[in-house]
């Protein structure tokens, strides 16, 4: 088991609004997010000695700038030893957290800045986005020739899940409604108008049973976080947010090779994370579950132990997961409502987890939140990544 429990903490977060900003250079989303994170941490920028930029998908040129230290130079960071790109698709932020924690705990680094920014909302066309995501991460030999793409992938999981559990389309739509309730309170979210079950159910069918309003949309955006040792964190902030547990399971590359498309590796990854933290799902004040499509939020929620299989839908429908509910879930609105920024979906989710635990979530603050679990997944749901954070070390 990892020895990192309680050894490192998040001390600062930054985020720019998610949306369509055709006039804004992608680098702005990166450096503004990083600037906000440094100010939030209240440290001197030159304490940062390691920068981990996430990869961006919209432009190889921009991505190369991230690789070649543009963030370091733009911000004038004077003591950076290494600038090294981290990329695991949607799991990038979780992998970066684990790697940053290991680097700090080993003494290789002291204060690490992770930054994500992309421009998938205005950097590519709508059809260009669909075409990008009908090849990115999808096997060009075994799946692309059959018209596979991300909507059909989500639909394949949804169809099997419905077949095995009897979950209804209304219960799946309720995930979208629940996330929107939170996004209404999130100034950085793109979709902030109230959403009803009826609107979701009336939206265009994409791939049965998946409808348009059950699908994420791609936007521009960025966010950043700073991690340091637990000791240093206690010296610089009143509210360090400690890394308590992590668990991960890689299951597949080719989606059709996944033996269980309505469960994946979540139960095993969750068990590892909770065991490391010495906590149980019932101890969590918040569940920040990766959405991208309602089915994946439902599966993650249930497999992690927040509901029995097939019973999560009623909780989303009844409001248990809404603001004021007994199990606040995906409190930034998720990719379904805050918006999907490529690898940034889970970056935003971990930033939100830290924000809630620091007590900085404004109108959507979950009162007295102490422990939270966050999940991330990349590619065609190729892995299950679970992170547990808390304001104290149990």
């Amino acid at each position: 088991m990892s020895k990192l429990k309680g050894k490192v903490a998040f001390i600062g977060i930054g985020e720019v609004p998610t949306g369509r900003f055709p006039e804004t250079a992608a680098i702005y989303h990166a450096i503004e997010s990083a600037k906000l994170a440094i100010r939030d941490a209240g440290i001197n920028k030159d304490e940062i000695d390691y920068v981990l930029p996430c990869a961006a998908l919209f432009s190889p040129q921009f991505n190369t700038e991230l690789v070649t230290c543009r963030i370091v130079e733009e911000l004038g960071l004077k003591n950076v030893k290494k600038n090294c790109q981290i990329f695991a698709g949607g799991s990038s932020s979780t992998c970066a957290t684990d790697i940053a924690a290991s680097l700090i705990n080993s003494g290789s680094a002291s204060t690490i800045l992770f930054v994500h920014a992309d421009r998938l909302g205005t950097g590519v066309s709508l059809q260009g986005g669909i075409d990008l995501f009908s090849t990115a991460g999808i096997s060009s030999e075994w799946e692309v020739p059959y018209g596979q793409h991300y909507s059909s992938i989500a639909a394949l999981s949804t169809m099997r899940y419905k077949h095995e559990t009897g979950c209804t389309d209304e219960q799946l739509a309720a995930v979208c409604v629940s996330n929107r309730k939170w996004a209404e309170l999130n100034p950085n979210a793109f979709f902030r108008k109230p959403l009803t079950l009826e609107e979701v159910m009336a939206s265009k069918m994409l791939s049965t049973p998946l409808r348009a309003k059950m699908s994420n949309m791609l936007f521009d955006g960025g966010c950043a976080f700073i991690i340091t040792s637990a000791e240093r964190a206690r010296a610089v902030t009143q509210k360090p947010v400690y890394l308590l547990g992590e668990g991960g399971v890689v299951t597949h590359f080719v989606f059709s090779q996944e033996p269980d498309v309505s469960r994946f590796g979540w139960a095993r990854a969750g068990k590892a994370a909770f065991e490391m933290a010495g906590l149980k799902p019932q101890d969590m004040d918040i569940a920040e579950i990766y959405d991208s499509y309602p089915i994946y939020q439902m599966i993650g929620f249930e497999e992690l132990g927040f509901a029995k299989r097939g019973e999560g839908g009623e909780m989303f429908l009844k409001g248990d997961t809404w603001p004021g509910g007994k199990m606040p879930t995906t409190t930034n609105g998720g990719m379904l409502s805050q918006g999907h920024t490529g690898a940034g979906g889970a970056c935003a989710l971990i930033v939100e987890t830290v924000r809630q635990l620091m007590g900085k979530a404004g109108d959507r603050q979950v009162k007295d939140a102490k422990f939270a679990v966050e999940t991330a997944v990349g590619g065609t749901y190729m892995d299950a990544q679970v992170t547990i954070l808390g304001t104290e070390i149990p």
């Binding site: 060009s140 020739p145 018209g147 909507s151 394949l156 949804t158 077949h163 791939s207 989606f255 033996p259």
Partner: protein, 141 residues
């Protein structure tokens, strides 16, 4: 819509998978079989993904399968598939135990169900490729 029809993507073939595509061109569905541990293997690998043996041979599959899961793509597909709407994408489980992605053809899209029995048919993609697809079997397996 003035989007020009894009050509269908063809499989990007790895050299060790070539026997699969050569057989498909002759309407045969083949998979790998490990002579050491007995595993049936799909998609083709450079060594057995179960026991890591190189002692792997090609066998002909029965072509019988069941639909593990499926979806009817009704809108927003990749450009090259706009002309095919609606079409069925499915994960099928072969009688030999391995899974593959395919399309369900030869029936109304709305008649497809999870766990329904299907059998392989080969559709010509171009001079070089035939794609294995699946259609409902009239009698149960």
């Amino acid at each position: 819509m003035d989007t020009p029809v894009k050509p269908k993507p063809v499989p990007v073939v790895n050299p060790w998978a070539k026997p699969f595509w050569d057989a498909a061109r002759e309407d045969k569905l083949v998979i790998q079989h490990c002579k050491d541990c007995g595993s049936n293997i799909f998609y083709p690998r450079i060594a057995c993904p179960n026991c890591f043996s190189d002692n792997v041979e090609w066998i002909q599959a029965s072509g019988k399968a069941t639909v593990y899961t499926y979806t009817v793509v009704e809108s927003n597909p990749p450009s090259a598939f706009i002309v095919d709407l609606p079409y069925v994408v499915a994960v099928v489980k072969l009688a030999e135990g391995v899974q593959m992605l395919s399309n369900i053809v030869g029936c109304k899209p709305e008649d497809v169900r999870c766990d329904m029995p299907v059998e392989v048919v080969f559709e010509t993609l171009n001079e070089e490729f035939k794609l294995p697809k699946f259609r409902p079997v009239s009698k149960p397996l």
